[in-house]
Amino acid sequence: MDLRFRPEYEAFREEVRTFLAQHWTAEDRASAPPVNPRGMSLGTSVRTDERATRFRLAAIERGYLYRHVPRRYGGSEQPFDPLKLAIIQEEFRKAEAPGELIGQGPSMLVPTLLEHGTEEQKQRFIRDTLLGKIQWCQGYSEPGAGSDLASLRTRAELDGDFFVVTGHKIWTSNADTADWMFALVRTDPDKPKHEGISYLLIDMKSPGITVRPLRQMTGEADFNEVFFDNVRVPVSNLVGQRGQGWIVSRSTLKHERNLIGSSLLSERVLEGVRFLAQALELRGRPAIQDPVLRARLVELETKVLANRYHGYRLLTMQARGEEAGLAGMVTKLYGSTLGYDVARLAMDLLSDRGLLAPGESEAPAMGMFITAYMWSIGILIAGGTANIQRNVIAERGLGLPRDPAVQRSQTSQR
């Protein structure tokens, strides 16, 4: 074990710093468009204005962003090196410089296209997605198909060079602002559940699409219902083979869970709680002196750190070319459970101050804590619920038998 960065990495860090000093000035930083106080949704993508795009192009040119994507599709095509990646992320964060965009498009669709897309699809979509010029939404869930995703019913019938799509998607995050959707649709209703599904890219401006916002418990409306009424989608927008959509979607889902399990959000919220505990009074003395609160803070800090070190371990396994196995399967469950515990501590600490809704100027930290608290439930559900993750850990990680009922319906869980 060696937690130092070797000299060549320290030199690389210097290089990144110099680049940042030259290309992302104090003026650039200050020119940030107003921050979206929601800032918590899964589709969060930071700064895609002109300055940010100009900077990103320079950073790609230098080999700092989208290292796993070939140059001809808009990436910087660098050898795999998780340590350099960690250094880049750290330094970009410190300088508040626009890094890689995350969210459905860059984090989920791009890897899927790289693995399964046609040359034409890669050329057409990847570059613009990485720069935030195309926004994507993920059209998987349906009213009757959530955890049991393979029972989806939205139909796509072949008509010449087009698929004609009719059906209903739900919980589609950011569908109202997205330009395109990657969707799972049923192309062969007579085949067994898993074999009749295809993966389609659908232009959200196509005639016949209706998007209806769904208000969440947080009061915001990030997700939506999407209705398809005879929407015509060119056959060239099929990713992978017809009927192979289930296999194509596996690669998307894996990336989704890693995105959700990361430790950053909990670390940020816990930092806020600590600050709050030092600033607030509880029964006439600084809250941080309350023994129960202290114990809970330390307990959660331990878990937040464990999550961080767990990330180091996964990174090392990756660098060594080892399979993450069970260690990789637990990230979403651990991270999302922890997110809830941390946010609940914040709410307990706020006590009656937590009655104020986000946006109310008197609300502590602009309501960040209550937003985090509510979102911690969303995160528990999105991308496969906690119980589905437990099934995955038990069956694929510990080798326990499949649920007999699930086995009978031949369903793979989300």
């Binding site: 330390v298 180091y312 069970l326």
Partner: protein
């Protein structure tokens, strides 16, 4: 940056695991723990031949010169196998002498401790002291010790005892007492964890040799927290493995119980707790040697965190075995008892969390 074990460490661990599987299956654990001492010299000798007591002893004293992480990996395997014997106290006494001994004192004791020929232990506990050295009442008058220590592991087989006591100026310090010393009385105690017996030790003007204990005491306590965390992890992992394999074979309602979701989810939760917890104690052990400003706090957090998990995992695993899990015949209670020792010895989870809070400046 590399956050993982070296191939040497992996090899050492698997060698030790194989040795313990052969030499110390639970039938042997039971036989040893039923004896008066719970110490099997042959097993101790076997561990010594594998180099366990020599791991962190510097090479100039005949040791392997390794780090605390290596020693903690050994502790993990001993916890996994629920091995009885004086490992923990011996390791802590070794660290006391290593950190607080003069060159002459090190030269005198460490080589024999490295080979396991001399068995040592630590006497730090006192009734009501909550493991806080500030409240020790055993005292040293300049040449000898007087007072009583509680919870001294394997005092009855130890050749050397490193005692925590007040110096003449009132500050806590460390003192070495040899087995032959006058005025030493050891009283047997009935204990929950039969694999690690503890005794009551009385000192009545007992001649003792002082170590330069100021920094050594904290170092040894930190090491103790980390070794216990590793032991707790090893035990937890073993209990999870036992529960998983039982769930794959025991049938009820016409199918193996592992197909029932309630059972699966309980097991999945255990696995989900253990994976990041392992990364945590690895980090704590690494910090002990390489990141001094984080060492003490991480040790305290590791002790509290891992022993909490050990408690839950042993309970859940026992419950998942149904009635058989509650019998004396079945092995699970060996770990269940060990988890109780790990939680209580050197201070409970509350004590260590409060310490971690103080160390953060709160």
């Amino acid at each position: 940056m590399d956050f993982g074990l070296s191939s040497d460490q992996v090899l050492f661990q698997s060698t030790l695991r194989r040795f313990l599987a052969e030499q110390c299956p639970t039938t042997r654990v039971r036989a040893i723990m039923e004896t008066e001492t719970a110490h099997d010299p042959a097993l101790w000798q076997g561990l010594a031949e594998l180099g366990v007591p020599a791991l962190i002893v510097p090479s100039e004293y005949g040791g392997a010169g390794m780090e605390l992480l290596d020693l903690a990996l050994a502790a993990e395997e001993l916890g996994y196998a629920c091995t009885p014997g004086p490992f923990l106290g011996h390791a802590l006494a070794t660290i006391c002498i290593l950190e607080g001994g003069s060159p002459a004192q090190r030269e005198r004791w460490l080589p024999a401790m490295a080979t396991g020929a001399v068995v040592a232990t630590v006497a730090w506990g006192e009734a009501g002291s909550q493991w806080d050295p500030q409240s020790w009442s055993t005292s040293y008058d300049g040449s000898s010790l007087s007072g009583q220590k509680l919870f001294v592991p394997f005092a009855n087989v130890a050749d050397l005892i490193v005692v925590g006591a007040r110096r003449p100026d009132g500050s806590p310090g460390l003192f070495v007492v040899e087995r032959s010393a006058a005025g030493l009385a050891i009283q047997r105690l009935a204990v929950v964890d039969m694999t690690r017996k503890v005794q009551h030790v009385r000192f009545d003007n007992t001649p003792a040799i002082p170590l330069d204990g100021s920094a050594a005491l904290q170092r040894a306590m930190d090491a103790g927290c980390i070794l216990i965390a590793a032991d707790a992890f090893g035990g937890s992992r073993r209990c999870l493995e036992m529960a998983v394999s039982y769930a794959k074979t025991r049938e009820q309602f016409g199918q193996v119980i592992g197909a029932f979701q309630a059972v699966k989810h309980q097991l999945a939760n255990m696995a989900c707790e253990l994976e990041p917890a392992m990364s945590f104690w690895w980090y704590a052990a690494h910090a002990y040697d390489h990141i001094p400003d984080q060492a003490e706090r991480h040790a305290a957090m590791a002790k509290a965190y891992l022993t909490d998990i050990y408690d839950r995992v042993t309970r859940d695993a026992t419950e998942l075995h149904g009635g058989i899990g509650f019998t004396w015949e079945f092995d699970l209670h060996l770990w269940f008892r060990r988890a109780i020792f790990d939680r209580g010895f050197l201070g409970d989870a509350h004590y260590h969390r409060e310490r971690a809070a103080k160390l953060a400046g709160w």
